[in-house]
């Protein structure tokens, strides 16, 4: 079978000692940042990108992916044990997870989360393996018009799923596209918006923007309301779930995996929406719904499966179409470009070892997470108690040196500071930075595809609706935009984010 030979190639790539080591390092770092509140995967990956540039591309991407899904996992451990979600996606896990821990059932809760995550990760890995190649094959038939429309769909989805005002989210996307155009125009060689500054000729680096908006901006926001982090640690006794627990876990894990996988593919959502949706659906269909919020194991198993599934299926659009669906995969697109790999449907055929190696490494990484987390729980819990006033100067140091090392210029440090201030300002004004970063990376690509599409159609703008695939994508984008205006959906959207940011 073809799939098996592909997976064998992947295993060959992922199982080399170096790749196994960096996969382990990635999930370890990921778990650590998932545990630490106030340090998200976007900022961490931006910080570590310069370090990965010295690695071979496969190894670098394996490690970066590990950081991302590792962080989903780490967030849930602290949600259960100390009621502090390290990651937005694990907020709902605190509802029942912490209750279980208070009742002395932290062990089964952690087990439910681990088993659910591992199962979801396995299924999602197979989903990528099964749907990746046909999707990429279909995408190979895409012309510039289709790619342009696909990016429109991606950006619209990120807008729809962003927090706060729809108008502002669209504004952030347009602003991001504009900022992405700074630098030398590839077609004419014109220096655009560089104000004669030599360092801007190559444009502003996406790592600089990401570190500024997500790293520095987040620190300034956290300094505004420093809260006392008093932590009550519950004792962990009886790690293993009972037979009854197992029975109650099965259906929620299956449903959570399904919901998370589907929502993860949607651009812009990542895993937050999935875990929220899985929890609320479980609450409606479960036989034990009266127990929800009071320590129901279903309320841990479902969202944990969903967020892990979503974290992984969000790689599908990235690996098959080259379109990032959230800030983390946007950074990975940047990493691929730096390594000389043009992200897109041709990656599967031109770099099969990279594609399949990454997929298999995700499964291995999930296995590592299960093995890593049980014996190290004590360490993670101690880590959460590092006071923030000692944490953030360190983050600043890593950001400053990291951004300098990209091109060995102080200039990037100043730009990072500028974007940090901008990021804080925009968050105060209720504008989310995630759609902007996505647009920033897509800006030059969109312009290029727009140019080519218009050249091929001889200046006929209707080409985007005359070609069936392109038209379908635009209709989907339109529907997504309209869905926000439907009261029921916008209410769910608000709720998801209220709980998500709470």
């Amino acid at each position: 079978m073809e799939l098996l030979s592909h997976l064998a190639l992947g295993l060959q790539t992922a199982a080399t000692p170096a790749n196994l080591l960096y996969c382990l390092l990635g999930v370890f770092l990921g778990t650590a940042i998932g545990v630490l509140p106030g340090l998200g995967p976007t900022a961490t990956i931006a910080m570590l990108l310069p370090v990965t540039f010295v690695l071979p591309p496969v190894t670098a991407l394996i490690m970066l992916a590990g950081i991302y899904y590792g962080s989903q996992y780490g967030g849930s451990t602290t949600s259960i044990l100390v009621n502090l979600p390290g990651e937005a996606a694990s907020v709902v896990t605190t509802l029942d997870g912490y209750q279980m821990a208070k009742q002395g059932r932290a062990g089964p809760a952690l087990a439910a989360s681990a088993i659910g995550s591992f199962f979801a990760g396995t299924v999602a890995t197979f989903l990528i393996a099964a749907f990746g190649p046909p999707l990429a094959a279909a995408a190979l038939k895409f012309g510039p018009a289709e790619f342009f429309s696909l990016m429109v769909l991606g950006l619209v989805a990120s807008v729809v799923l962003a927090q706060g005002s729809l108008l502002h989210a669209i504004g952030m996307v347009v602003l991001g596209l504009l900022l992405g155009l700074i630098g030398t125009d590839v077609n004419s060689g014109t220096q655009r918006f560089t104000f004669g500054i030599f360092e801007l000729a190559d444009g502003i680096g996406f790592v600089t923007v990401a570190m500024g908006m997500f790293g520095l901006g987040e620190i300034i926001r956290n300094l505004q309301d420093e809260e006392e982090r008093s932590v009550l640690i519950t004792k962990i006794t009886g790690l293993w779930p009972t037979k009854e627990d197992f029975k109650r876990m099965v259906a929620p894990i299956l449903r959570g995996t399904a919901i998370g996988s589907v929502l993860g593919i949607l651009p812009g959502s990542g895993s937050i929406l999935g875990s929220f949706a899985a929890y609320s659906i479980e609450k409606k269909v479960s036989k034990n719904r009266a127990q929800f919020g009071k320590g129901a194991i279903e309320g841990v198993a479902a969202p944990e499966s969903a967020n892990n599934a979503g974290a992984q299926t969000s790689f599908i659009p990235l690996l098959t179409l080259g379109i990032p669906s959230n800030p983390v995969s946007a950074l990975m697109v940047g990493a691929m470009i730096v390594h000389g790999i043009q992200p897109g449907p041709s990656v599967i055929t031109e770099q099969p070892a990279l594609f399949w190696g990454m997929i298999v490494s995700m499964w291995i990484g999930n296995l590592f997470l299960v093995i890593l987390n049980y014996p190290l729980i004590g360490m993670w819990v101690r880590m959460i108690m590092i006071p923030y006033q000692f944490l953030y100067p360190g983050i600043l140091v890593f950001c400053a040196i990291g951004v300098f090392s990209l091109k060995n210029t102080e200039f990037d440090i100043y730009f990072m500071a500028l974007f940090g201030a901008l990021g804080y300002l925009f968050s105060k004004l209720g504008c989310e930075p995630a759609p902007m970063l996505l647009a920033f990376i897509l800006g030059p690509l969109m312009e290029e595809y727009l140019r080519r599409a218009m050249l091929l159609s001889r200046g006929n703008p209707w080409v985007f609706v005359q070609r069936p695939i392109s038209a379908t994508l635009l209709v989907l984008a339109g529907l997504a935009m309209c869905s926000v205006l439907i009261p029921a959906f916008s209410k769910t959207r608000e709720e998801a984010f209220v709980e998500g940011s709470g």
């Binding site: 010295v54 504004g171 347009v174 077609n187 006071p387 300098f404 440090i413 940090g420 105060k428």
Partner: protein, 150 residues
């Protein structure tokens, strides 16, 4: 008066960036729809941003919103200033001075700042960075810079 400060200020920012983009792009070639010049796409985007900004400002007078809330001026100032200062002095004074400067100035932004643990952290982190980044990864920065005769 405006009834929604968030909409109002965001709108003004969008108008500023949108109109600047259009004005600056006038120096570049517009081209035609078939063969787009360097000004074509920025002008479309600038126009779009301008429209969004205007809608946002108008909306701010019609639909009331929640206030922006207090600004963390201290944190904003100390974090950005410490990072910029690091950039200014790192080549001249070297990381042995620039890193502790960055750490201490930024740490001062916390309400729970205390000298002793901050100094210990500054020393530890600086040594760590010298070994990992300068020695290990070979980032070309001096430990003691030329301004200090290093």
């Amino acid at each position: 008066m405006t009834r929604n400060a968030r909409d109002f200020w965001t709108g003004l920012i969008y108008i500023f960036f949108g109109s600047s983009a259009i004005l600056i792009a006038r120096d570049y070639g517009m081209g035609t729809a078939i063969k787009m010049g360097p000004a074509y796409f920025p002008t479309i985007l600038g126009g779009l941003l301008l429209v969004i900004g205007v809608i946002s400002v108008i909306r701010s007078f019609v639909i009331p919103g929640t206030p922006i809330g207090a600004f963390a001026f201290k944190g904003l100032l100390l974090v950005t200033v410490s990072v910029v200062a690091f950039g200014f002095v790192v080549r001249g004074l070297g990381v042995a001075i620039a890193l502790p400067l960055l750490i201490i100035v930024s740490a001062y932004g916390s309400t729970r700042f205390r000298w002793r643990p901050t100094l210990v952290m500054a020393a530890g982190l600086t040594i760590f960075c010298v070994f990992v980044f300068l020695k290990g990864l070979g980032i070309p920065l001096p430990i003691i810079g030329p301004w200090l005769g290093g």
